[in-house]
């Protein structure tokens, strides 16, 4: 696409043609990487910069605004209870899903790693939920498992023990809907993270366990504590980071599980759902939507770097 531009910019000492034009590094590089770079520029870099520009303007229902408002969109967002609440929602959601996902996938991987028989079949079964979309899973959770009427699965099971049916999603006090939000994500994703842990476990050298056993550290817990866990350090860091970023971007299950019954307030609303309604809802406020996107992007970048610093993950990434 822009293959000729860099070649033309190059200084006059063009090497005497040793073979086809296509083999000059600059030309070849842009032939290969040009389409991608142009696309990335057009659909990511330029939009992000444009968005930063919009965030300083009153851009309601327009993407070519004229009224400069300085930092007002930012101060509006940072003082808006709805936006701050969405950050709180994310924090609660991450505090629930990240540890459970981590512990659940690690436990499954450890169990499966010890299984000699039927391991491939079980692995497939645990990974099978990854085929399901959040929309389809939300449908099952909302209309079957956590259906608030008597025939819902959870209420059927409660009924066997003589308990009254619970209105899982349609009441916010107590906030049982969080149970649906957290479990649907666990079901969909635990198998995926289990695979990553399993791959990590398979890379732990066997000699380490043999050496520890000779050293007398034969009990399961101490080998786990002193060998398995340290050896899984990089994998654990990756799983934690992936989980945190994924929780931050939670949208599908909130939108589909709470869609008709629950709007904010009193239902919790995560940042992306808030952003969606601000920028693309009735108001089409691109200025505040953009300011929100910039704030969120900065927060996630900070969190990524902080975690990289703590867990030494940043270096392996670049």
């Amino acid at each position: 696409m822009n293959g000729s531009a860099p070649a033309a910019r190059g200084p006059g000492r063009r090497p005497r043609a040793r073979g086809p034009v296509l083999d000059r590094p600059a030309v070849a590089f842009w032939v290969f990487a040009g389409p991608f770079t142009a696309g990335l520029a057009l659909f990511t870099v330029v939009p992000v910069l444009w968005s930063v520009y919009l965030s300083f303007f009153d851009a309601r229902n327009t993407v070519a605004p004229t009224t400069f408002v300085g930092l007002r969109n930012y101060t509006d967002m940072l003082t808006s209870p709805a936006f701050l609440d969405s950050l709180l929602t994310f924090t609660v959601f991450a505090a629930c899903t990240v540890p459970l996902m981590f512990a659940g996938s690690l436990a499954l991987a450890l169990l499966l790693h010890r299984a000699r028989w039927a391991q491939p079949v079980l692995r497939s079964v645990y990974f099978l939920p990854a085929a399901c979309s959040y929309v389809a899973a939300s449908l099952i959770w909302k209309l079957s498992i956590f259906n608030g009427v008597r025939f819902g699965l959870a209420n059927t099971v409660l009924g066997w023990f003589g308990a009254e049916p619970v209105a899982w999603l349609s009441v916010t006090d107590p906030p049982w809907y969080w149970l649906a939000l957290v479990t649907v994500r666990l079901w969909l994703q635990v198998g995926f993270y289990m695979l990553i842990f399993l791959a990590g476990l398979q890379r732990v050298p066997r000699e380490l366990y043999e050496a520890a056993w000779v050293d007398g550290a034969a009990t399961g817990w101490s080998t786990f504590r002193h060998i398995t866990l340290p050896q899984l350090h990089a994998t654990s860091a990756a799983v934690l980071l992936l989980n945190l970023v994924a929780a931050y971007q939670a949208f599908d299950e909130f939108y589909n599980l709470l869609g008709t019954d629950g709007y904010y307030p009193p239902y919790a609303r995560p940042p992306l759902v808030y952003l969606y309604f601000t920028a693309l809802g009735a108001g089409q406020d691109f200025g505040r939507g953009s300011a929100g996107a910039v704030i969120l992007a900065l927060l996630i970048a900070l969190a990524t770097m902080a975690q990289g610093r703590f867990l030494g993950f940043g270096r392996s990434r670049a």
Partner: protein, 304 residues
């Protein structure tokens, strides 16, 4: 702690006792092994049932009658499978049919296009000695820091300015340029044996010929692994189609399904039948392309 204590103990005793201990331990372990094995498989089996439960619910409800679902007594399986629930979804010009067709087109083109564009970029970054290659790579890594979901507002602004709202172009094209996929390909091509490429050069092939005749044919497994993961992601995508497909003619299957759920225009069995139909293509992929999916998941997970 344990290890330190163990080492001291080891140093105090002659080495031969280690063999004794090994034998004793092995015997003890065999007894414990049988009990532990049963417990292990009980846990694994219970987990497996829990994981399969939602799929069972889709199947049961999708083939049941409304009365069977809403009855206060739990019916484990419908007495008489109602295949009519499924065929009702495919009545003439039903949104489901349009949705499935749109999703197929979007997922296929997005997967193919992303593999093409991102693999070539990855190859250039890994192998073509260009002065500004490092700067380009740095820019790509920088865009990785911005989570894709946060850019949906900016990208929507761009795509709507291009007039691509409610079009397949708008659904497909912005998803082609994944910095993450280009990054994965770069890392992978860095490990590709240079000797093969050198041999191709000796045979007179340039970068273009080397890439298409030597590199690609020898890395098809990796392409397949990344491809299936991209396809799954594209088929199950929700936020971007929700933003861009505003006209029902451009809805993907996920949007159709979500509309069914929120508007509740269908009865329960039909809703579950629709969910089953939307998941079925990917379940078939999981059955037949399992190897690539697992590899793709591990590659993209570990390097992410």
């Amino acid at each position: 702690m344990t290890r330190v204590a163990g080492q001291r103990e080891e140093a105090a005793r002659p080495a031969a006792t280690a063999a004794d201990r090994a034998r004793r331990d092995r015997r003890r372990r065999r007894v414990r092994g049988a009990v532990g094995g049963a417990a292990l498989y009980a846990a694994l089996g219970a987990a497996a049932l829990a994981f399969l439960l939602p799929y069972y619910l889709i199947l049961r409800n999708g083939l049941a009658t409304q009365e069977e679902i809403t009855s206060p007594d739990w019916t484990p399986l419908p007495a008489d499978p109602q295949w009519g629930n499924v065929t009702a979804l495919f009545a003439a010009d039903s949104p489901m049919l349009t949705g499935l067709a749109n999703s197929l087109v979007v997922a296929v083109l997005q997967t193919g296009g992303q593999l093409l564009v991102c693999s070539m970029a990855g190859y250039a970054l890994a192998r073509i000695p260009y002065r500004h290659s490092g700067a380009v790579f740095g820019t790509i890594v920088a865009t990785l820091m911005i989570p894709a979901a946060v850019t949906f507002v900016p990208t929507f602004v761009m795509v709507s300015s291009l007039g691509w709202v409610s079009s397949l172009r708008g659904l497909i094209v912005p998803g082609l340029f994944s910095g993450f996929t280009a990054f994965l390909f770069r890392q992978y091509f860095l490990t590709f044996p240079r000797e093969l490429e050198d041999a191709a050069r000796v045979d007179g092939l340039g970068h273009w010929g080397t890439y298409w005749r030597v590199v690609v044919p020898n890395t098809l497994q990796f392409f397949a692994a990344i491809g299936v993961i991209t396809f799954i992601g594209s088929w199950n995508a929700f936020l971007w189609p929700l933003v861009i497909a505003q006209d029902s003619s451009s809805w993907t299957v996920q949007i159709v399904l979500s509309t069914y759920v929120t508007a509740q225009t269908l009865d329960l069995p039909e809703l579950f039948a629709a969910a089953a139909v939307s998941v079925l293509p990917l379940l078939l992929m999981f059955l037949f392309l399992q190897r690539y999916i697992v590899r793709g998941a591990v590659e993209s997970g570990i390097k992410g």
